[in-house]
């Protein structure tokens, strides 16, 4: 129930209503620049003791959560309301501005000939003796060294790699390679493909990366010999569904994990049913008996805990960890007078992509807690989330996150680890 006697609430409500009902994004631009919440806050401090603007108050630097609403997450599929397109557009504009700020600009200046120092001019435009160039070539050496490398038959598919493309929409998909040995199968290949590629081209790209990474056993034949299946959570191909139609466009699908399977015969239009059956038979034989408990840990799992704040009481939350993100959802709590005054009734559900998570460590505190370190891409600094829960949960959270980070750890994690090893080295020197 809203409190219509609270003028700040009403102001905030009016502001939000403007933003929500305006598809052009103009309101947002104007109102954001006005930074009304800040004004409210400043005035509010004079009038109120409690907190008024719960959503934006706590963005301080002591490692508390920097809220990102679920709507800004990475889901590219499904319907998106037009309003969210505005957000996306604004976000893009902001990023472009940030990028532009990193570029230094040097404007042409008409040379001032009267002021030109003759000595300087003579020095910098001095003619030199022409000397013979070296005639050894690193390229020729590399070409000779790599002359024996068989050209991957799949090289023509290299152009569908989304990593070497800019701006083109891409899909990042985990590919489980069923032809590899049971041990290697635990390490799926992450492929970034341009969304406009066909499934057969994605297969080609996977095969190209496979041979480029020198995975064993080597692939033979052409892309027609392979098929992509929907992968189950443990990475085994889901035999209940047919393989993805090679002519379909990748962008149409929303799968994040697929399994590459070698089919016995190249599928042919006429005998499709039969072929599918043989492939499925092979699936069943190839289906790994035991996938090990480790890989299971890439599935979504949720844990209960309390998010620690510096001053206020802790918020009860659900911590969800999956292959590509960490979610923090507040649990609905019963409202008492204290919670109304002191807690954050609407701590927004937060979703951190796994790429920004850099580390996860158990803390030696009482009661036990776990710290998740991440990189805040907006504020460009490291941050820390502290979550209090029982020791068994902590163990699970740490094991699970570490496992995922091991495979998926990105640039931020490398940077963080590098930084920490430097800090530790320094600390040990001081000691």
């Amino acid at each position: 129930m809203a409190f219509y006697d609270n003028k700040y609430w009403i102001l905030s409500h009016v502001r939000n209503s403007f933003l929500y009902s305006d598809d052009t994004g103009m309101c947002e631009m104007i109102l954001q620049n006005a930074d009304i919440p800040k004004k409210i806050r400043e005035e509010g401090k004079k009038l109120w003791f409690g907190n008024l603007d719960d959503s934006e108050e706590e963005f301080d630097d002591d490692g508390r959560i920097h809220t990102r609403s679920l709507g800004n997450g990475n889901d590219d599929f499904g319907t998106r309301r037009r309003r969210l397109n505005t957000v996306v557009r604004l976000e893009k504009m902001r990023k472009e501005q940030q990028a532009a700020a990193m570029i230094s600009t040097i404007r042409w200046k008409e040379p001032d000939l009267t002021n030109l120092d003759q000595g300087e001019k003579t020095k910098i435009f001095q003619k030199k003796e022409v000397v013979a160039q070296n005639s050894k070539s690193a390229l020729s050496k590399l070409m000779a060294e790599h002359a024996s490398d068989p050209d991957s038959p799949f090289i023509e598919y290299a152009k569908f790699d989304g990593n070497s493309q800019l701006r083109a929409p891409t899909r990042t998909i985990r590919i489980f390679l069923s032809m590899q040995s049971a041990e290697d199968r635990n390490f799926p290949m992450t492929v970034c493909v341009v969304a406009s590629a066909k499934v057969s081209e994605l297969i080609g790209l996977v095969c190209y990366k496979y041979s480029h990474e020198k995975r064993e056993p080597p692939l033979t034949g052409s892309v027609d010999n392979y098929a992509l299946f929907i992968a189950e959570d443990d990475g085994s191909p889901d035999a209940d569904f047919p393989c993805l139609e090679p002519k379909e466009v990748v962008g149409k699908f929303g799968f994040t994990s697929l399994a590459l399977v070698r089919s016995v015969n190249p599928p042919k239009e006429a005998k499709k049913d039969v072929e599918t059956n043989t492939t499925v038979d092979q699936l069943n034989t190839e289906k790994p008996e035991e996938r090990g408990a480790v890989l299971e840990s890439t599935d979504y799992h949720s844990f209960k805990g309390f998010l620690l704040h510096k001053v206020r009481p802790n918020t009860e939350i659900t911590l969800g960890i999956s292959w590509d993100q960490v979610e923090i959802k507040p649990c609905p709590t019963s409202r008492s007078v204290t919670t109304l005054l002191w807690s954050r009734p609407n701590l927004k559900p937060t979703r951190l992509p796994i790429e920004v998570i850099v580390d996860c460590v158990p803390m030696q505190t009482l009661p036990a807690s776990v710290a998740i370190m991440y990189y805040d891409t907006d504020k460009r600094k490291w941050r820390r989330l502290r979550i209090e829960c029982d020791s068994k949960t902590i163990e699970q959270v740490v094991a699970k996150l570490k496992f995922i980070l091991e495979i998926r750890g990105g640039l931020y994690r490398q940077e963080y680890l590098h930084h920490m090893s430097y800090v530790n080295k320094k600390a040990s020197l001081i000691r």
């Binding site: 404007r107 003619k127 070539s137 690193a138 390229l139 020729s140 070409m143």
Partner: protein, 321 residues
């Protein structure tokens, strides 16, 4: 920064798809793409210290870090009203030269931000190409009206040369030991001169007089538009590229045709570069593809596939093994 700077092989290509791609030259793998917004890429060059790539486009010259993952340029040179068609560097990196359709060639002082020693050379027609003499003191500027200007940077003295009436000069090249100069025009004709180095100045003054040219040969190189000409590092070959979908290699001993680099799908060949030992040539073509050719066999050794539009320029730096 880079692991083994001067030794690394760098290949970058750019064109009409508003991006520049870096390639692993020996494998054909694209290692990185950087943005080149709002403009095609007219010319590319690598700084002598192998740290930056310069891309000339419409009204801008942008500099990209070579050993980084930053997809954006780090320096943007601007203040030019038209297309920039040529870019290159002094061998010690003191200054950068550019030429453009605003009928001028410029020298940008790279030592400080305030362009202390910048220079400008104005001509009457849009500049198509600028070539630095290996003595680092003379710029050869070719323009659309068919004039080659020889601009002595120290004395500001300049001379003009018109090899053929009503033919636009498309590219000029001087071999590394400065024995020959070649220029190709839009009729597909290529002119070659012998260069005679300038004399030492009298009374102990440093420097020398301007280089003298003596006509050497005229090649009817291509039937269509000529685009680029370049001497191989050992000066044994002169390469010419053209709108006739080929690149041709000429022996400099007698200027006879050595071989024609052509393949079925190739379209206009816009740019060419040689490996340091003159064993390989790399071409950039309108069919979105760059190719590595073995000069001995005239066969394709590698293809660089990934651009989505025509390629118009490439920058290649070979390393010492």
């Amino acid at each position: 920064m880079g692991n083994n700077n001067g030794d690394q092989v760098i290949l970058a290509t750019g064109g009409y798809d508003h991006s520049i791609k870096f390639w692993q030259a020996h494998s054909g793998v694209c290692t990185r793409t950087v943005t080149h917004p709002e403009s095609q890429v007219n010319a590319l060059d690598i700084t002598p210290d192998s740290q930056l790539l310069a891309a000339a486009g419409y009204q801008h010259i942008r500099m990209y870090e070579i050993n980084s993952s930053n997809p954006n340029p780090i320096v943007n040179y601007e203040g030019i009203s038209r297309n920039v068609t040529a870019v290159g560097f002094h061998e010690d990196g003191h200054w950068m030269y550019t030429g453009g359709e605003d009928c001028s060639a410029r020298v940008w002082d790279l030592r400080t931000r305030n362009l202390q020693c910048s220079r400008i050379f104005q001509v009457t027609a849009p500049v198509n190409c600028v070539c630095l003499h290996p003595n680092q003191g003379e710029l050869l500027v070719g323009d659309q009206s068919g004039v080659i200007h020889i601009w002595d940077l120290r004395t500001d003295h300049n001379e003009q040369l018109i090899p053929e009436q009503d033919a636009s000069i498309q590219d000029i090249s001087i071999d590394s030991s400065a024995n020959f100069m070649a220029a190709i025009n839009n009729k597909g004709n290529c002119y070659v001169w012998s260069l005679i180095p300038g004399n030492k100045l009298p009374d102990g003054e440093e420097g020398s007089t301007q280089t003298q040219l003596r006509p050497k040969s005229r090649l009817l190189a291509h039937k269509r538009y000529g685009l680029k000409c370049k001497f191989s590092p050992d000066a044994k070959y002169l390469a010419t590229t053209s709108a006739d979908q080929t690149a041709k290699l000429w022996k400099t001993s007698d200027f006879s045709l050595h071989s024609t680099l052509q393949t079925e799908n190739q379209r206009w060949v816009w740019d060419i570069a040689f490996s340091a030992d003159s064993q390989y040539a790399i071409t950039a073509s309108s069919d979105n593809t760059a190719r590595l050719w073995s000069i001995e066999t005239s066969e394709i050794a590698k293809e660089y596939i990934g651009h989505s539009k025509a390629l118009t320029s490439l920058a290649f730096q070979d390393g010492t093994p």
